[in-house]
């Protein structure tokens, strides 16, 4: 399991003696970008959103230099930005096209029909996540992005012991909303 947040944040802090923002950025960039790339489907949009998440962390740090758990804050804001992006119908129309093209380029070993079917399913998953309670969506996104319970708890300000029960509820809600969406279409 890759390290994601808290431990790395502490490293960044101690290296500079105050706030090693560059170290923090370099440690977290790939992970933040990849989560957003999967969440919104469009690499360019994902890059913009990842930069925006770091920018917000940077600004927040200027206002509150003593902020704790900066890494967790970063993932919470990044996933929120991604979910907001999906909710924005104008962007969604655009990235549905872009994501389809991107999927075709990235998955050359499958037939175009399979790729499009797969991407359509991914888009449905994204829509369901955007329609769900935000906390539940973030739980599912972070868990399926490989975060440990401890890391999820740190990112979302939850007790580690509550992650299991919350994931169960989130999965049930996801399943319910996904089936409803498929029936809609």
């Amino acid at each position: 399991m890759k390290k994601h947040k808290t431990e790395i944040t502490e490293t960044a802090r101690t290296e500079s003696g105050s706030w090693g923002f560059e170290a923090l950025f370099l440690e977290h960039w790939t992970s933040v970008y990849r989560i957003l790339q999967r969440l919104v489907g469009d690499p360019e949009e994902a890059e913009d959103l990842a930069l925006e998440a770091f920018l917000r962390l940077y600004r927040n740090n200027q206002k509150q230099p003593e902020v704790q758990n900066a890494g967790g804050w970063l993932y919470q804001v990044a996933t929120r930005l991604g979910l907001n992006s999906i909710r924005d119908w104008k962007r969604r129309e655009q990235y549905e096209l872009t994501a389809g093209r991107f999927a075709l380029e990235e998955t050359a070993q499958l037939s175009p029909a399979d790729i499009l079917a797969q991407e359509e399913e991914h888009q449905q998953v994204r829509l369901v996540l955007a329609r769900m309670n935000e906390r539940q969506s973030q739980l599912l996104i972070l868990r399926h992005s490989g975060f440990s319970y401890k890391e999820i708890a740190s990112a979302l300000n939850l007790a580690p012991a509550s992650i299991g029960p919350l994931l169960v509820r989130a999965e049930r809600e996801f399943g319910k909303k996904y089936r409803a969406l498929v029936q809609e279409e």
Partner: protein, 387 residues
């Protein structure tokens, strides 16, 4: 004796996150093992659907390249924080707050019945400054959950019929007038360094009363109760093209990223920049029986004004023609001045960075002149030299 595992614990077991004591129970309890198997079956479809989130080593922007881009943004931010300082503090900060207040007011229309007949409700003829505590507004515009929910509410409620484009440069006041559709005025004897025209915009707003009330509740203001009848009221807003005329060395509008606090850098870089902005009054159409006074009272109370002060103010304001401009209660002073043949309002910030802004309305056009420093007299002189 340990009881059977909960669903949450079984989920943790599937994720390899179960504590050793519970794991031991699971290894010896056939009931829990059966339930774990059932849960695994139920979760398998969700796991499959979300599997594309699984980390993989596909190419993406390298961290170093991304850091370079980020650093460039920060650098631009410092360079162009003038944009924020000027447009965000005297104009956009005040203006955004004004717009926000307007949105708050408009978001809570007190229609007792949606008649379908729309009344031309609002056209700015005068400006009134209202000192408020920004805490409530900053909650709404911040990165917290409340800010996010407010964004969601606005996003869900607003239908943008026409988005404003990027500011377009104009070579002269004549060209700007042609582009903007109104007579752009420039102080006599002064040569602009930039003239930029932003095209018109239009949107409509349909309120979901349940969500709006939930937002107030979440903000800890459940004492402010929206009438049940506001639900579904539709308000349309037309914002005409606007013109920004810059004098001295000024940043280009629209080129900055989100701002930070590097005012000292920008004060050094743009010491002589003054910006004159002009825009015909936006117009608002709303259901004829909109109880705007009650809604404005809610908006003002939300910003921290006492119920008594809010009631007193709302009873004296002509809501069909007055643009309320909120200013920070303890960080700005204001006074009425005679400019351009009418009465204007001069605002001087007393916060960390000195800023001034002069606002007035003449012949249906809203004017603002803003700049850094305390030489607000310059704004008055400029306004009085307009042709």
């Amino acid at each position: 004796m340990r009881t059977h595992l909960t669903d949450g614990e079984l989920r943790a077991a599937l994720d390899g996150e179960l504590k050793s004591e519970q794991l031991h129970h699971l290894e010896t309890c056939t009931t829990c093992q059966t339930r774990r198997q059932q849960m695994q079956t139920m979760s398998s479809e969700t796991d499959r659907l979300l599997a594309f989130f699984k980390p993989a080593d596909e190419p993406g922007p390298a961290a170093r390249a991304a850091w370079a881009r980020f650093s460039q943004q920060i650098s631009q931010q410092q360079e162009y924080s003038m944009t924020r300082t000027w447009f965000s503090r005297p104009i956009v900060r005040f203006g955004t707050a004004a717009l926000l207040l307007l949105v708050l007011v408009l978001a809570f229309p007190g229609t007792r019945a949606l008649t379908g007949a729309l009344l031309n409700l609002f056209r700015v003829q005068q400006v009134q400054v209202v000192p408020v505590d920004f805490t409530g507004l900053e909650q709404l515009t911040g990165d917290g959950a409340l800010g996010n929910h407010f964004t969601e509410l606005i996003s869900d409620s607003v239908d943008m019929q026409q988005e404003p484009g990027e500011p377009a440069a104009a070579a002269s006041s004549e060209e700007a007038s042609q582009l903007a559709g109104f007579n752009v005025r420039i102080p006599a004897g002064m040569t602009p360094s930039q003239i930029n025209v932003t095209s018109s915009a239009a949107f409509s707003l349909t309120l979901d009363r349940t969500k709006a009330q939930a937002l107030l509740d979440e903000a800890g203001r459940s004492d402010l109760v929206l009438p049940a009848s506001v639900d579904g009221a539709e308000i349309s807003v037309d914002i005409p093209a606007s013109v920004s005329v810059a004098f001295g060395t000024c940043p280009r509008p629209g080129s900055g990223v989100s701002g930070n606090n590097e005012q000292s850098t920008t004060e050094g870089r743009y010491p002589d920049c003054v910006i004159l902005a002009q825009i015909p009054s936006p117009s608002v159409n709303a259901p004829a029986d909109l109880d705007i006074e009650a809604l404005a009272r809610i908006g003002l109370e939300f910003t921290g004004m006492s119920p008594e002060d809010a009631a007193s103010l709302t009873s004296t304001v002509n809501w069909t023609s007055t643009l309320l401009v909120p200013i920070p209660r303890n960080a700005a002073i204001h006074e009425q001045v005679s400019v351009d043949g009418v009465t204007g309002t001069l605002i001087q910030s007393t916060g960390e960075t000195s800023l001034f802004a002069l606002l007035w309305v003449k012949d249906g056009i809203i004017y603002t002149i803003s700049g850094l420093g305390t030489n607000s007299q310059r704004a008055v002189e400029m306004a009085n030299s307009l042709p």
